[in-house]
Amino acid sequence: MQHTRVTGTTFVGDANPKSTAKPRGQPLLPMLVPFSIACFAGTLVTDLVYWWTAAVMWERFSIWLITAGLIIAGLAAIAGLIDLAVGKRIRTLAWPHAVGYPLAVVLSLINAFVHSRDAYTAVVPTGLMLSALVVLVLLLTGWVGSTLVYRYRMGAAI
């Protein structure tokens, strides 16, 4: 296997998890996760613009971005479960990734409900705070996770 770095994914040595849910040998889980993260990060941007403008279009961007992020996260979870169920040489992910990303998804699910309220309070203040919290969790996950993976060679990134 020649994977070195695929959309933010790094496998270290031979002792890495082998994803069994993979088309043409490519692991599916690491391919999906960054798209959902991009959606959640985008939500913070559109929330901020809504806060500044109160133009309803931006609130709609936010709820659709969260929804898309959650759907992709759901697909990633299915890919991950297939790995767990079928895989033989599963190694744990670096713990920040295994904890941080699911936490961000759960917070985003709550955020989807808050964003489904009508008008201004769908975003300000609870929705906006949740969107910021999700991005914070993801940034911390990325930072702590890559420190472990790249510096100490512990586990794998998502």
């Binding site: 500044w52 709820i63 808050v114 009508d118 008008a119 769908a122 300000v124 705070m129």
Partner: protein, 455 residues
Amino acid sequence: MMRAFKLAHSPKWSRPAVLLAAVSLLALTGCDDNGGDPMKQIGANPVLPKLQQYFIPPIRIARAVGWGKDETPTVPQGLQVQALAAGFEHPRSLYVLPNGDVLVVESNGPPAPISRPKDIITGWVQWFAGAKAKGGNRITLLRDTNGDGIPEVRTVLLDHLNSPFGVALVGHDLYVANTDAIVRYPYQDGQTKITDPGTKLTDLPGGPIDHHWTKSMVASPDGSKLYVGVGSNSNITENGIGAEYERAAVWEVDRASGAHRIFASGLRNPTGLAFEPETSTLWAVVNERDEIGPDLVPDYLTSVKDGGFYGWPYSYYGQHIDPRVEPQRPDLVAKAIVPDYALSSHVAPLGVAMYNGTELPPNYRGGAFVSEHGSWDRTPLNGYKVVFVPFSGGKPSDLAQDVVTGFLDANDHARGRPVGLAIDRTGGLLIADDVGDTVWRVSSARSGSPPKPAS
């Protein structure tokens, strides 16, 4: 940026975001979903609890099951109820012509656009409650030739309409308020079918959103004006304030020119209009906003004052601010009128009829019948009945009484839901039932069994 600066320095934002988020989530999940006693919210001074905002808004709908054989609504002693006719396609409103012919407007709203994921869920909920049934988009005429209360003639007076609701006859001009326009048709006494394509009097706010699609309508006593109830385009401006242009208002339309002005505004969804006969003032039943609690905001019956502003969207019951609306308008809130008579929360009043007949017992004379279509976001269910509000001196004078009940069965399934009301020529109360697809007639109880409808 000025705004962001201001908000960023408000006390709300000075605490750690994490802590605040945790606290708000706790508060959200700790909400009490059960509504209080509706009787506390009937009359001039309803008890208004504190506003809540939900994590998951409560949904409590009555599944539509329809009427079993020989099942009818229930009326108090001294009255009787029978089906005038059945087998309609979503009958929503009723109108009685001078010769006694009854017009049944069979209608439903245009398809709702999907702007947010929530709209998909809302669509499922409405389907479950029987609110997605296809409307006939037509007006059926019923004629009782021998006066036994059972129509022998049933014809389609007008077909291929566009979500019609309000009807008004002035002289030989029959006006139909479609969801997007008022159309005038020539009508001759006794006519059972109109073939004339009609003439548009004026456009009304319609699509593409058309959230509250019904356009209630009544002619002024002198026949010179038409008053039209135009509902808001959202629950609480979630489609943007621009979508609310000339909505949430009662229009006054000049019958000769078609010109209109806003007679009164801030009325979220004025679904029924009627002139109080003693004082000749315009009254409306209005559906208030959702998703801030099982006991907020009470729907109401109110006189409609020329130039009056009744709060929506900025506030309710006078100066109770709704935080979901941004930017706020303190100038408008300051002059918001408190409605006259609360009917309790989420009952969804869709029809009002002032009673001036002689068929029903004398205690009903001078008062208002109000049909309550029934709640969908409140536990326990509220509404699903026709009530009577006594009037004295042109104003409500006492607590509302239940008149027609039994629309819910023992399992809280909806056998029917009352919508439009009308008083027929002999003084009977007619009720359109858009789940039971029936028109009911309430009259004084007489000895002997009531006549059976011709089916």
